[in-house]
């Protein structure tokens, strides 16, 4: 298929744009923002910014107390994993919905996944006790592109994180290339 031909697969995916990605959300955080998970992160990344754990130092800053490391935003709403069979599911924490556009692409031979862009925005820093919810919407699907690793589609989704009051605390825009590994090196 050339990039110019009518692309029925893309037309099918087009219908999903602006719709929730059922695999990803809305997801309710299993736990509120909490100090033990923040400490785990601080130690894992050896990040010694005192505002994450030191109540006294945090109180002396504009935050007025401890705040969660901002890059943990996505961590709070990560799906609880089902470890058994995770490799057989290609690494997915749980079952994948059959109507997911990513599944549609995989079924059409675009089985490879390459993450290309991540854009995190923080409206405010989180504090212990915040309970997050994440809603993910498919934002864009490109035309079929020929890349060095094969032909594929760039898929972009946006996750909006809200707190218990329904206020937006942050967003993540994420783009991946779903590609057909067998078409690597092909020219359209």
């Amino acid at each position: 298929m050339t990039d110019d031909e009518l692309d029925p697969l893309r037309a099918r995916l087009e219908a999903c744009i602006g719709e929730p990605l059922s695999e990803f959300g809305p997801a309710v955080a299993p736990d509120e923002v909490n100090l033990p998970m923040m400490r785990h992160w601080v130690d894992a990344l050896d990040d010694r910014n005192p505002v994450y754990l030191d109540a006294e130092r945090g109180a002396s800053t504009r935050f007025g107390g401890v705040v969660a490391p901002p890059a943990m935003l996505q961590t709070w709403t990560m799906q609880r994993p089902r470890i058994e069979g995770i490799a057989e599911r290609g690494g997915s924490s749980g079952e994948i919905a059959a109507d997911n556009p990513l599944t549609t692409l995989a079924d059409a031979g675009y089985t490879g996944t390459l993450a290309t862009n991540s854009e995190l925005e923080f409206e405010r820093y989180l504090r212990p006790g915040d309970r997050l919810q994440a809603s993910t919407v498919l934002e864009a699907i490109s035309d079929c592109k020929t890349t060095a690793i094969g032909r594929g589609y760039f898929v972009t989704w946006v996750t909006t994180y809200t707190d218990g009051a329904g206020e937006t605390v942050g967003r993540q825009r994420f783009r991946i290339l779903k590609f057909d590994p067998s078409s690597a090196g092909a020219r359209s």
Binding site: L45, P50, T61, A71, Q74, T75, S118, L120
Partner: protein
Amino acid sequence: MTGGSGVSLRFRDIAAGDELTPLDLAVTATVIVAGAIASRDFMPVHHDRGFATAQGAPDIFMNILTTNGYVSRFVTDWAGPETMLRSISIRLGAPAVPDKILRFTGRVTDTRQEGDEGVVELAIRAANDLGDHATGTVVLSLPLDALA
């Protein structure tokens, strides 16, 4: 010039062209697995070498949440605890794999005042000998009243 984990940089002392203090991260399997599990990412490519190589990767590789976490650490190690990150936008490239140094470098590209905050834009890069792992833009603010 560094804020370190002690004092924060003052906005008035930051100017376009300033270089951030580089961070050389000795990436090991432990670093990758610790970050993956702390971020609750159980994808086998981030902890199971056999699974990762079967997927065509050279080894297990760092997950994106951890990359964002290290970008955050790199920036706040420099600017200090009063830093509030507004955004981290990265383009992803070469994988961060064990036994390769991941070097974080950055440069101030713009500064401006917005209300009672000083806003600083940074161009950042994390690279190993496979190439650029992540390149992009970080926007942060510092409180202007820290001028006192």
